[in-house]
Structures are given as C-alpha cells and as structure tokens.
Subunit: 458 residues, 2 copies
C-alpha cells in the first residue's frame, strides 16, 4: 500500500512535471518567436552584409570584410567565446564578361552574360565563333567533333517548371553548368554559353561552380540570362551562322587565407558536446548574397541572440559557425570538420540554413531513423509556427563533412518557389528579403536548437 | 463457400478499384499542378487586370472595365455559360488627399495620407487643427470633450508584430480605422488620422472601410503611412501644438449599376448542384489590387481552365464567380446569394480566394464537423503539394451570405506574412506577384474542387 501510494504520488508528479515541462517548452518557444518577430536585428545585420559589404567571394577583400563584420557582431553579443578559424581558400578573380550576338540577318545584340565560377578567361581579344545550340549532352554527342569543333556550344536546356521542388528542376539541368565546358571541349568547342538556371525569363545571368578535367583543354565557360538565351535561340533559327563574341576577364589567383567565424554559448552540463548552427559567409562575385547565404548567416547569429535574450543557459555548447567558401571548394566546411576531428570534439547535431530567407516550412534531416523520429516528435511544438515538414533529407554542404563522424545533420527548409530567381545572380539583393519571414526562419531554428539541447537526440 | 468466394472477389475488386481511384486521383491532381506550373495564363491575366485596368473601386469606370475584361476571358474559354449578374453598388469618389504637418519648432512636412473608404471630404479649404495622439479608444475617453473638441484625433496604434497570424494583428487594431471617426466625433473632433495597418515602416498609406453613425456628425477620416505616423508622433512630443492640414476631396455619388461576372462548366450528373469558386473583382481606388483580390480572380478563372484542359467533365456544375464590391458594401456577395435563394439553387460548396497570391498553405472551412472531416480526408492528395493546413475557420466575405443556406464555405489560405504590406494600398502592384506561387494557389483550388466534385461532401 505504501509502495502503491508512493508510486501513485510519483506518477502524479511525473504527469504534472511532464505537463509542466511541455507547458514550459510552449512558453519558451513562444518567447523565442515573440522576440524574433519584434526585433529587426537580424534584418538590419543582413542589410549591412548585402548592401554595405555586398558580393564576397572567398579570397576577395569583401569576404575579409564579411569575416570582420560578423566577428564584430558576435563580439558585441556577450558570448562565451568568439574566434576565427583559419581556412585556406581558392581565390578566383573575375573582372567581368562582355558578350554580343552579331548576325547580318537579325542584327547585333549585346547579351547579359557572366563567367562561370573557376572558368578560364578568353584572353584580351576574346573569342568569336559560330554557335551550336544543344539541349543535352546526347544531342552534342550526336553532332560530334565535326559540327562542334571550333564553335561555341550553347546549352539551352530550361529548368522544368512542372517540378514542384525547384531544387529538383535545378539538379536536373545543373550538369550543363558544372560539366558543360569539359564535355564540349572533348569535341573541340572553343567556349560554352549555358542558359541561366532559373524558371523566370529575365535579364540576370546566374553563375555557379563548374569543373575542368585536367586531361582536357580548359575552355571559357559563361552563363547567359534566360531572356537572351531565348533571343539567341530564336536568332539561330533565322541565322545558323550568326557569330557570338565573348570576352571574359577572369583568372585563378594564388590561394588565400580566410576564416570561418565562430561564436559560442558554453553548455552548462555538457560543454564539450556541441550543437552547430551554421551557414556560409561567402557569396558569388556578382551577387550581394542576401538570400544565398546572408540570410543563413543572420539566422545563425540570431539563434544565439534569441537564446541569450531568453536567458536560456543551454546544457550543450551552442556554436554558430559562419563557413567560408561554400561556393567553390567548400574549404570552410572541410576545415571545420578536420579541426573538430583533430580535437576529438563531440557534436550532438549540426543545423544549417542555406535555402534563403523566405518562409520556413520545415527541416530535412540526414540521420538515422531513431534520430529522425526523435526530431519529428518535436513537431507539436513547431507546427503552430507553420513548421510542418520534418522529414529525412539533405542537411547542408558546409556541415556535410561532419557526417563521417555520424553527426546528425539538419537543413532548414524554407519556401523555395522564389529562390532560383535570386540564386547566384545580381538579383539576390536585400530588397528581396521579407523581414517577418527572415525572423520566422531564425525563430524556427532557435526553437529546434532549444528542443535538441533540452531533450538530446539519443 | 460460394458466398465467401464472391465476398472475396468483391473485396479484391473493391480494393483494386479503390487503389485505382486513388491512383487516378493522384494522376489527375498531378496533371492539374503540371498544367498550372507550365502556363503563364493566370499570371498574364493578372498583369492586365492590375497594370492595364488598375484600381477598380465599385461604381468606377475601371470596375466596369474589369467586368468587361474578365467576361471576355471567360467567353474565350469555351465554357457552357458566361453571364453577368446585375448588382447595385455604392460609388464613392475620391479625387485625392493632401496633408501636411506644420510646426514652428520641427518644421513643415508633407505627409502621405489617403481618405478612408466612404469618408466625407473636408471641403475646398481643408481642415487645420491641432493633433491629439491616442493609442486606444480608452485613452480618448479619458481625454474627453475638453481635450478632443476642435482637434484632429490621431490613432497611432501599431499592429502587434508578435502575432504570428497577421490577420489577428490586423483585427486587433482595425477598429480605429472602421470606428475611429464616429468615436472621435462624439467628443467633437474635427477629423481623424489613423496609422496605416501594416507591420512595415514605409511610405504607403493604406485605406479601407469605415463607418459613420447616423446620429453623430460625420467627420473626415484619413490614413497616414507608418513612416509619417512615426514622424508625427515624434514631432508631437517636441511640439504638442503643431498644426495638421488635411484636405480631402471625396464624396458619395449616387449608387451605380455593376455586375458579378460568372462562368460555368455544367455538371454531367448534378447540373443543378453548384460548386462556387469565387473572388472579388473590385479593389480600393488607390490600389491596383494585384493581391487583393486580382490574384483571387485569376485563381477562380484558372480553376475552370485547368479542369477543362484536363478534360474533366465535372459531376456538379463548377461556377466561377467574380463578385463586385467586396470592399464597401459587399453588394455582389449579397446579390449572388439573394438570386441563388430566389432560384432555389443548391450549392454543394463555395470556395473563395481572398488572401492574396502568395504561397498556398491550406484551406479553412466554415462548415459542420462531418463536412470538415470529409475535406480533411482529402489531405493525403494535397499535402504533397504543400497544402498542409486544413482546419475549421473562415470561408470568405463574398461567399459569406451563402452560409444562411448552410452551404459549406472554404477559404484558400495563402502565406500572409507579406500580405499587409500590400493590402489596400498603392503598393499592391503586379511586381509583388510570384508566378509560381500564384500558379500553385490556382492548382490547389482546382485539386480541391476536383475532389469535392468527385466525392461530394455528404
């Protein structure tokens, strides 16, 4: 009886304490959202990063300025530690691209182009050649050396608008950007022009990474805006022998020294177990990188600010990491994992925001099923804030190298319907950021970090 | 045994036919989304409505042009019937508002204001008076006649940014816009200036409906943009006796004749049972109404186009209704219900889109629980397209009068985080429309209409 009575009391207390804990979680998470929605801190940080610093390709002076600026923000936040982590990064310098289509039949048109990342330049005199338009590698294979040799290959495959997930449409055709130059060079092409990867028909060329094969000659690789891709295609139908002029002034520089920027709140119970919230600080040379990935950077910083503002002393160490050079060699992410490995650091989980600052809708998780189930159990706390999608999926590029150490990886999923319009282009400007949606992204991440920290993932 | 065998065969057939039906539904819904995402029809229709026709307040020539334009679109669609339904509408004419703050201490500043809908004008000479700033009716009550009399009351209550649902924040303070003039007139105020209802601090005044009390003098009512509300408040702290000049050239005209625009696909099995997809065609006089509610209009038209394009012959009659005059007297919605009542029309369900053209996230349903449960059971077909929120809630203003006849009402829920920035202001322009999100809204509605039509709601 006595034992029963104690069991009863224990049960009642457990139920109360569990109800209390749930209620406490609801209150804390509401406070995190309230604070995020009523402060313009993240928004104004992003304004400075996109508008005052602007494009910040790894190795560039602007990337160094972004390191300094975000370090200063973290230093102003009364964190337990703020430091830089040295990273050797590539430095590719692009001083601009000029291109024009010249046709005795259709006329002359200056077209909007940009160099693809890591491309070689054309030399001072540029390249002038006829254009062979293809929609696929297979089509190019059929044409062969005879038709391709000495010409510029124009990869004009549009993203499939029927794909609900824009990243799927992107991944289906991004091979023409990443592999087009080396594949076309096999057939003796002198350069490639790739249709920009966006659904919209507009005037912005979109750059992005591309790769050479050391055994094949390096030819210049450029992107053309969709509006002019359509024009070029239409003109080619009327005048297959029109000429394309391309002048690209870009080249590889010696590797540079840059940094990952790191700020921490020390864990009260498990200071040696780390929760990472990360994003990448670099952006392409033509892009102010407001969405990609300035939004992610201010998300990560804001997570720390929100936790501190609520006086949450986390059990684990919460570490914001702004990775350098995601776009070219992912050297920041690799270096971070290498240092963590060397120091035998234990990571509870790593969370990355690299899908822009639009409305957050969920998290995708790269981890074992039991971990995913544990995170899915947090849904009741996140669903009231519109975070409804918590599923197995992709974590992030920068946190990717932590996977070898079996760290669960989580990516913030934002609404991506508009994302490709900005991605890797001069159109990725601060005015495309909505303050409330940006704030909601940071609060969603802070809520998830709070729950992972409190309940662990075992 | 024989009976068992037949039962078994029946069961197997049932399972197969049910699986087939499910599979068929998935295929049809995918086709609806595919078609929506690969056509710019809705987007280009909206471009014309917002940019070529523009602001279209009920009674105005532009409203008549919008009736004619949308009727022509419907007539071009090979529908079973297209017609106009006559509606008597109010016609309030606003020829513009001018306002300035004049202070010997702070300076002179022209401020951005607009008349609130149905307000009386100020007369040619305008009004000049001192300003009493209040945050609430209670604060005004405390000041009383002595302080308020002869002055302009400035309602400067901001929307609470902590509200996750912007409509909640809006509904908390919209009373100052709708009731401010009559409440202030009780204390002898000569005019009111109301802070615009938006979270952002910007230069756009936002109008909207307001109401007089016949027993209280009618005083002019205006809205001021948030940027200048902040400025006025700051100046008042330095100079409580500054003067506000307000000149409003607006007046009530005789009622006008306008129309609801209606297009139908006749039902094959139940031609006399109607599924309405609706939106309102009018917009405020200062607003091109791209989101409010041009987006809803092209959503409704697009639903018919998508169903026809897929050769879906619906069992029930699908009727797109573009209601006139939602903004002032809701006369289009009232007239539609009155005619339906007179003709003993049976409505299966009425669906409205009046929350803008941003990302669709769900549907809210104003109906009995069993009907809600039936619609929630469709979620498996909608969830893959991001439609995750299907709950009891608000249907819509225009379809509202059908509630008396127990018609289930459904409102499309779009992401509203940006909506208040555009709402009832000159900022509600076509460039704020994202084509893919607009297309997804139409496809989500078409999918729901398809499911309601196929499975009924009993």
């Amino acid at each position: 009886m006595r034992s029963l009575k104690w069991t009863y009391i224990f049960l009642v207390l457990s139920v109360f304490s569990s109800l209390f804990a749930q209620d406490q979680d609801s209150v804390i998470i509401k406070n995190l959202f309230d604070e995020a929605l009523s402060s313009n801190t993240a928004y104004e940080n992003l304004r400075h990063l996109s508008e005052q610093i602007g494009p910040r390709l790894s190795g560039s002076p602007q990337a160094a300025a972004a390191v300094e600026y975000t370090k200063q923000i973290l230093e102003s936040m009364d964190l337990d530690s703020v430091y830089l982590q040295k990273v050797k990064v590539p430095y590719w310098l692009d001083k601009g691209t000029e291109a024009a289509v010249v046709s005795p039949i259709c006329g002359t048109k200056i077209v909007n182009t940009c160099a693809l990342g890591l491309s070689v330049g054309t030399g001072k005199n540029g390249i002038e050649a006829e254009v062979i338009e293809v929609k696929s590698f297979e089509e190019m294979d059929e044409l062969g050396k005879e038709k391709i040799g000495g010409n510029i290959v124009f990869f004009n495959q549009a993203m499939n608008p029927k794909r609900l997930n824009p990243l799927r449409a992107y991944s289906e055709v991004s091979k023409y950007r990443t592999q087009g130059a080396k594949e076309a060079a096999r057939y003796g092409a002198v350069a490639v022009v790739v249709r920009s990867l966006t659904f919209t028909i507009d005037e912005y060329p979109h750059t992005g990474s591309m790769y050479y094969d050391p055994s094949i000659p390096k030819i210049p690789a450029s992107a053309i805006c969709t509006q002019h891709a359509e024009l070029l295609s239409a003109w080619l139908k009327k005048d297959p022998h029109l000429k394309f002029h391309l002048k690209m002034n870009c080249r590889q520089m010696p590797d540079a020294v840059s940094h990952n920027v790191i700020g921490e709140i020390k864990g009260s119970e498990f200071p040696d177990e780390i929760i990472v919230v990360g994003a990448h600080l670099d952006s392409w040379h033509i892009s102010p990188g407001a969405h990609d990935d300035g939004a992610g950077c201010v998300h990560a910083i804001e997570v720390l600010r929100l936790l501190k503002k609520q006086n949450i002393r986390p059990r684990h160490t919460i570490r914001a990491v702004l990775f350098m050079d995601e776009e070219i060699m992912q050297s920041g992410g690799k270096e971070y994992a290498a240092v963590a490995n060397k120091n035998n650091e234990k990571h509870l989980v790593a969370l990355e925001s690299d899908g822009g600052g639009d409305l957050p809708i969920g998290f995708s998780i790269d981890a074992d099923d039991p971990v995913i189930a544990k995170i899915q159990a947090f849904e009741e706390h996140l669903n009231p804030y519109g975070v409804y999608y918590i599923k197995k999926g992709w974590g992030g590029v920068d946190i990717g190298p932590l996977k070898k150490k079996c760290v669960p990886l989580i990516g913030l999923n934002s609404n991506l319907q508009r994302y490709m319009e900005y991605h890797h282009s001069a159109n990725d400007t601060f005015d495309k950021i909505n303050m409330r949606e940006l704030q909601l992204g940071a609060a969603s991440m802070a809520a998830l970090v709070y729950l992972c920290d409190k309940y662990g993932l075992d």
